[in-house]
């Protein structure tokens, strides 16, 4: 199936706007999505990420701008003719249909021969490992199984693009991490372009080729997870993806990740400042300290918990240092 779906699936979005009355839910988006890419739209609720996805799916009309699939405009194409697979929030499985009929639905409405549908459904069942569940109703499946049926249903007609609207939101944390790995693996096998909406930074970082950070209907920053994490361009990008300290120096604001700060008792050669520990919190893998420094105000510092030995008590005086490349200048 990677053969048929990898033929197309490149999207270009230009000047896309969605206005409700005077409110701009999507306020001018320009974005190129490569075929076969795993792209994540990341943002808080109200950032316009879901509206953007719904416009790509064809459920929302664009107020202005264009969406091109492999160079052809699709804004005038109704949702049912766009041939985009979609995994809905809450899955939206048809409750009165068996797993088999859910997965075969897209082919059956396309009037494909019975034999072809049966073969394809079996293929998809194998792909998402639901053997033996074919005749169950969605209500008889666990959340994780429902999620896999939704994936199989959306991929059954080999769409060039798969849209995913917070597909892991309903799963508990342990299962979510498992499914993240499965999704990434599935993406590599089918070769379809994935456009994934989430507000969860961990999901964005762990699965995506590129992440689009959105806020107030606009793109804040686009890049690979590594780029976004190590070189955030704005204060919003720095705090929404990971945690950050902000230093005010030379009339600019600089971002400094808590784990890139070196903290020790006593002094060494390349200390930047000294400070006093205000509090410490244990997170299992890391120990987080809040340190009142003499030059930069309160800084958060993350230390590998296994390295630190005994936790330092509040009031302890410490030296603090970092490498030059750890601080990143911000635009705002």
């Amino acid at each position: 199936m990677s053969a048929d779906s990898a033929q197309s699936g490149g999207l270009a979005i230009t000047g896309l706007v969605k206005r409700y009355g005077t409110v701009e839910a999507v306020a001018g988006i320009d974005l190129e999505i490569q075929r076969g890419e795993f792209l994540t739209l990341l943002g808080p609720s109200g950032s316009g990420k879901t509206t953007l996805l719904m416009m790509i799916a064809g459920f929302q009309d664009a107020t202005a701008g264009d969406i091109l699939l492999d160079g052809r405009s699709i804004v005038a194409t109704p949702a049912e003719k766009r041939n985009f697979g979609m995994v809905f929030q809450g899955y939206a499985l048809f409750p009165h249909m068996s797993v088999r009929d859910n997965i075969g639905y897209a082919l059956s409405v396309r009037k494909r021969p019975r034999r072809e549908i049966a073969g394809r459904v079996e293929e998809m069942i194998d792909l998402v490992q639901l053997q033996g569940m074919e005749d169950r109703l969605p209500a008889q499946l666990s959340g994780g199984q429902q999620q896999r049926v939704a994936l199989a249903r959306a991929l059954a007609f080999a769409p060039p693009v798969l849209l995913l609207d917070e597909p892991l939101g309903a799963l508990d944390r342990k299962l979510r991490i498992e499914v993240q790995a499965q999704l990434k693996d599935l993406h590599e096998r089918v070769g379809t372009t994935f456009i994934y909406v989430t507000h969860d930074q961990e999901e964005a970082l762990s699965m995506s080729d590129r992440v689009v950070i959105m806020q107030s209907g606009r793109i804040e920053q686009v890049g690979t997870p590594q780029e976004l994490y190590s070189r955030p361009r704005t204060r919003f990008a720095a705090t929404f993806l990971g945690k950050s300290n902000f230093l005010h120096r030379d009339g600019r604001v600089w971002a400094l990740r808590p784990e890139k700060i070196d903290l020790h008792v006593g002094s060494s050669g390349d200390d930047r400042t000294t400070g006093k520990i205000l509090s410490q919190t244990y997170f299992g893998s890391v120990l987080n300290y809040r340190v009142e420094t003499t030059e930069f105000g309160v800084l958060e510092v993350d230390v590998d918990a296994w390295r630190g030995g005994a936790a330092l008590r509040p009031g302890t005086v410490v030296s603090i240092g970092w490498h030059d490349e750890a601080v990143v200048p911000l635009e705002d």
């Binding site: 799916a57 064809g58 939206a92 048809f94 009165h96 897209a106 409405v109």
Partner: protein, 267 residues
């Protein structure tokens, strides 16, 4: 633990109220079993002679058939119209749609006698008086709002994402309605159809206004039977009328239970 006085009193009062509501409807049953020739309570002796008369009478039998044909056809028409209307209003989902919905429910609120006069005024020039077509049309108008209510209630619990999912998978509006929306709201559609059937089955006011000689439904013949003589055959007919209504109601109850068992609300 023994129930206290107020609990016992409440229970007793509830039973009295229930009897007050139900017993008058059941009074036809003993009366229909009287061995005498006039309407009376049987005293010690019971007889099925009035049922014999009822089922042996071509006039009564034709009334049964007429009532059944009209009720089934009217229920079918009301169900189609009411369902389409409910789905249409659900899809529009605006303030105007709510206003239209209120307007469509008017036949339920308007006193039957007013509806009856309206049908009379309308049917005379249209030549629909005293005809099957006219009866079916009038009863469908009375039943459609009930279907609108039950189907709208089903649609309120329908996840609009299912419709989006169907379209996203390539289904046209019509296919989506047939394969996704209708199966999901089937309990509401069936309930509406049953209510529309019962509405037509025992309707008398409108019927009296728009029929003359050829249409003689069961309620109309009972009405005449009571007015012109005190023949207990009428009581026997009432028992059959009641029995059919109860059976339909029972079907509805069973459907509700099955729908709940098949479709437990996920989360």
């Amino acid at each position: 633990m023994k129930p206290g006085f107020s609990t016992r009193f409440n229970r007793f009062a509830a039973w009295v109220l229930l009897m007050f509501l139900v017993l008058p409807a059941l009074v036809a049953i003993p009366v229909s079993l009287t061995p005498r020739r006039f309407l009376s309570m049987p005293q010690g002796e019971y007889s099925l002679r009035h049922f014999e008369t009822l089922f042996g009478s071509p006039a009564w039998m034709s009334s049964f058939a007429q009532s059944a044909v009209i009720a089934v056809s009217a229920a079918f028409l009301a169900t189609v119209l009411g369902t389409l209307c409910a789905i249409g209003l659900w899809r529009i989902a605006s303030r105007a749609a709510e206003a239209i919905r209120a307007l469509l429910l008017l036949p339920l609120v308007v006193p039957p006698i007013i509806s009856a006069m309206a049908f009379y005024r309308l049917f005379v020039p249209l030549g629909l008086m005293d005809s099957y077509a006219g009866m079916i049309l009038a009863h469908a108008v009375l039943g459609a709002p009930l279907v609108l209510i039950t189907v709208s209630a089903s649609l309120a619990g329908f996840d609009p994402k299912l419709e989006q999912a169907s379209r996203n998978l390539g289904a046209s509006t019509f296919t989506t309605m047939r394969r996704v929306i209708l199966p999901s709201i089937r309990p509401g559609v069936l309930a509406g159809a049953l209510f529309a059937f019962i509405t037509s089955w025992d309707e008398i006011v409108v019927t009296l206004f728009i029929t003359r000689f050829s249409i003689y439904t069961l309620p109309r013949r009972m009405w005449n039977g009571i007015r012109e003589n005190t023949d207990p055959t009428t009581a026997a007919a009432a028992v059959v009328l009641l029995a059919v209504t109860l059976v339909v109601f029972l079907i509805w109850v069973l459907l509700q239970r099955r729908a709940r068992a098949l479709n437990p609300q996920p989360e």
